[in-house]
């Protein structure tokens, strides 16, 4: 592939990304959130078409208009979620649409025989007549692989195939991949698990902001350099001074109370993505949660907020042990949570700004179940001024707002109910630069007023500028904590790069 461009109206998802994969190699594709990984994969698999650029397979230009075409053209894909049919048998799944037939019916004998053969080629021997769902995700991935290879694809794309596999299963997958490599195929391995990349890949391409920033052989690329390339260089200026000069209404000027512990999470676990995470947050503190994709940060946040049930571990709020069963309880106890997926878990599309903002505070704005529109409007007006939200009117549908303003509305939603602890998951994602600064300032301001904040972010600069402490997570565990003043970027990068090795090293 060379020079792929894919522009969506208003934003460029891919801006001149380039990728060269050779036969007989396993090539890694990495990048942070929004780097363009998924889009590139979509273009390659035929699920999307590039606005500019071209794809060359063995020197031949190709143009796929659908996933089926890509499959026929020799590109096989394994997805993160096994996209097969659970109830059909393994053999049926492998051959769906391409079953060996006798007259107009499926020739069961040949079907099962050939399925067995396909699986043998990748070293798997199972009963192919049983339903797919009776097998573990690892085996299911193998079946998906077998299907992908059915059309004798020479180019394999594996999009985060190891997310639901355990260590042993991953090893098996890697063995298969090495075998395929030996057969002269080209494999594109998309992942964010650095240990895996280094274990099995020959070369790595890093995407950032839609461009290719780096292509190197794994041997000559250190983990720190890799992570640095993924996350970008540090911004020069510090933005700590932004909160001043905004005319914020603040009685307590820069007086941060520290020491009162608000949250203590101990050894939270919810397999498979949250393994063992612990952290504390005090009043007036902004604690940052850093880590690569899939490190388990969102899972930790959701577990604290009771959005997902905990399998083990304890949560204490202001010293008292709590066990919430649903977000409503957590909210009543004073916890707020701003989800990273604004569209699906944040805004209520179709409702107005006013409605969205006051959703959590509704019980407090009502008497005898009747909402006091007057108090509602007052509150919303206050919030709009305080946060600088740009809207046409209070009753404007929230869908019409820009991402930044929507995020402000969601932030205001939690501020309406005077929370004790606010959990923010990627609060500045997908927002224009100006609004990002404003939101960061708001967070600072909140902490200054005594709120405890847990902030998840992939932008290290944000974390370093605004957090008193940064906790690093990797593969479901909290592995390191930094509280220097100022916190060094390299320390964090090192922790992220070395992942759980850090745990072993420091005996934490």
């Amino acid at each position: 592939m060379s020079d792929i461009w894919k522009t969506f109206p208003g934003v460029t998802a891919l801006a001149g990304a380039e990728l060269k994969v050779q036969r007989g190699e396993i090539h890694a594709l990495v990048g942070g959130n929004g780097a363009g990984k998924s889009t590139l994969v979509k273009v390659l698999t035929g699920a999307a078409r590039p606005d500019q650029g071209q794809i060359l397979l063995d020197g031949r230009k190709v143009d796929f208009r659908s996933p089926s075409q890509a499959q026929l053209g020799g590109i096989g894909t394994i997805y993160q979620e096994v996209n097969l049919v659970p109830r059909l048998s393994v053999a049926e799944n492998i051959f769906l649409r391409y079953e060996p037939r006798r007259w107009w019916m499926i020739d069961r004998n040949r079907l099962n025989d050939q399925a067995n053969k396909q699986l043998e080629r990748i070293g798997v021997i199972i009963d192919v007549t049983r339903p797919l769902a009776t097998y573990s995700p690892a085996i299911q991935q193998m079946v998906a692989l077998a299907r992908a290879m059915l059309l004798d694809c020479q180019w394999l794309i594996m999009d985060e195939p190891t997310s639901s596999l355990d260590e042993r299963e991953v090893k098996v997958l890697f063995e298969v991949m090495r075998q395929l490599k030996k057969q002269g195929r080209a494999i594109l391995f998309v992942s964010h698990r650095l240990s895996e990349l280094y274990a099995v890949c020959d070369r790595i391409t890093v995407l950032r902001d839609g461009k290719t920033v780096l292509t190197e052989s794994t041997k000559s690329l250190s983990q720190i350099d890799l992570v640095t390339a993924m996350l970008g260089r540090r911004r020069k200026a510090s933005h700590r001074s932004l909160s001043q000069g905004r005319g914020f209404h603040s009685d307590v000027d820069d007086q941060r109370e520290h020491g009162t512990e608000v949250l203590r999470a101990s050894h939270l676990s919810r397999l498979p993505r949250l393994v063992d995470a612990s952290l504390t947050v005090k009043t007036g503190e902004v604690v940052g949660l850093a880590g690569l994709l899939g490190a388990g940060r969102t899972e930790l946040a959701r577990a604290v907020f009771a959005a997902d049930p905990l399998q083990s571990g304890e949560v204490s709020l202001s010293g008292r042990h709590v066990r919430f069963t649903c977000p409503a309880e957590a909210i009543r106890a004073g916890i707020g949570f701003c989800s990273e997926d604004r569209q699906v878990e944040g805004i209520i599309p179709g409702l107005s700004v006013r409605e969205n903002m006051t959703l959590v505070a509704l019980p407090q704005l009502s008497r005898w179940f009747i909402v006091s529109h007057y108090r509602q409007r007052q509150l919303v007006q206050r919030m709009i001024e305080r946060l600088g939200i740009k809207i046409a009117s209070l009753d404007q549908p929230i869908d019409e707002l820009s991402g930044g303003n929507q995020q402000k509305v969601l932030l205001a939603r939690w501020l309406c109910t005077l929370s004790r602890l606010l959990i923010l998951d990627e609060p500045t994602r997908g927002i224009d630069v100006g609004t990002k600064d404003e939101i960061r300032a708001i967070v600072d301001e909140l902490a200054a007023q005594g709120l405890a904040v847990m902030m998840i972010s992939s932008e290290l600069d944000d974390l370093i500028d605004h957090c008193r402490r940064i906790v690093v997570m990797s593969e479901g565990r909290t592995i390191a904590e930094f509280a220097d003043d100022p916190i060094k970027v390299d320390s964090i990068l090192a922790a992220m790069a070395h992942g759980t090795e850090v745990l072993e090293m420091s005996g934490d």
Partner: protein, 330 residues
């Protein structure tokens, strides 16, 4: 791991339990038949059995189509009206020869099915609304064609002979056809590529699409099949009642849906059994028959309208049971 999928534990006890669980409906059906045979004099008499089968054959045909529709995750509420429409058409065509009498109603049913399929598959309208609407429309068309009356079937028509015929002297012709159609249906669902695709669409539509299955096409054709089979049931109805009744078929869709679900097909889609549907149809028909007998013979005074309560109760039990298994593996 989903618990409603066959496990592979080979011990005799487990095999026995599994066989029982998978065939509960059949067991219940056989048990009820035995009970009834004991209780009522002549219950298993030759004439009773043949007429029972002949009567329920029409539901059987509809239920087969409905099974496929439900497997794809949809539902077809228009079948009752299609039966009415088809019976009217059959009656209207009966003076013109056998072929039109057989073909036109089925085509009409398929046409309704095609409309259903287009609206559901292409426009993405939920199936219950789309088919509720066509239920209304088809009924209206039936009434218009019949001029709000019942149309007598030409008594000379061969279709009546076919409806009444007994092959080998005792098996009603429609029943033979039913068995043939069900055997075909079984093969199509389990051994034909398209049947596997139907299951795929119902089980995981997104995955099926990614695997290259034409989801739109599959959805479209199952509704056509459902409509066509309902059309055929209408022909049978006309043949046995000697008239095309535009007001018939009311509530048939509910009976058929209940039969399909009781027979083991999941209303949520992705899993279904052709054989199970047949047993479900027979079971519900048997309950009706028993109520009939009970009225005439037994000490209790069970009226026929208990049948829909019983249908609903069965359905409820099955649905809750199905949901319990599903919840377990979430």
């Amino acid at each position: 791991m989903p618990t409603d999928l066959p496990s592979s534990d080979p011990s005799l006890k487990m095999v026995g339990i599994r066989l029982f669980r998978e065939n509960v409906v059949l067991v219940v059906f056989l048990a009820l038949t035995l009970l009834a045979a004991f209780r009522y004099e002549g219950f298993l008499g030759h004439h009773n059995v043949t007429e029972f089968l002949r009567y329920n054959a029409r539901f059987g045909f509809i239920a087969l189509g409905m099974t496929f529709v439900i497997i794809t995750g949809g539902i077809d509420l228009s079948v009752g009206s299609v039966v009415a429409l088809a019976s009217v058409l059959a009656a209207l065509c009966s003076p013109y020869g056998l072929l039109p009498t057989l073909v036109i109603p089925v085509l009409a049913g398929s046409l309704v099915g095609a409309i259903n399929g287009s609206v559901v598959a292409l426009a993405g309208v939920p199936s219950f609304i789309a088919t509720l609407v066509s239920m209304m429309a088809a009924r209206g068309v039936a009434l218009i064609l019949a001029n709000d009356q019942s149309i007598p079937v030409d008594l000379q028509s061969t279709v009546i002979t076919i409806g009444e015929a007994n092959i080998f002297g005792w098996i009603p012709a429609p029943v033979i056809l039913l068995i043939l159609v069900y055997v075909c249906g079984w093969f199509v669902l389990n051994q034909a590529p398209i049947g596997r695709q139907v299951v795929a669409v119902g089980d995981d539509e997104a995955a099926a699409r990614l695997m290259g299955v034409s989801v739109h096409g599959i959805k479209f054709w199952v509704y056509v099949a459902s409509g066509g089979l309902a059309g055929w049931a209408g022909v049978l109805l006309a043949a046995s009642t000697f008239s095309g009744l535009p007001t018939e078929g009311v509530g048939w869709e509910l009976q058929v849906i209940a039969a399909v679900v009781i027979g083991g097909t999941l209303l949520t889609g992705g899993s279904g059994s052709v054989g199970g549907t047949l047993v479900g149809v027979l079971l519900l028909g048997l309950i009706f028959k028993i109520l009939d007998f009970e009225n005439g013979v037994g000490g209790y005074d069970l009226k026929a309208h208990w049948q829909s309560v019983i249908r609903g109760a069965f359905l409820l039990v099955v649905i809750v049971f199905q949901s319990r298994r599903a919840v377990k593996d979430r």
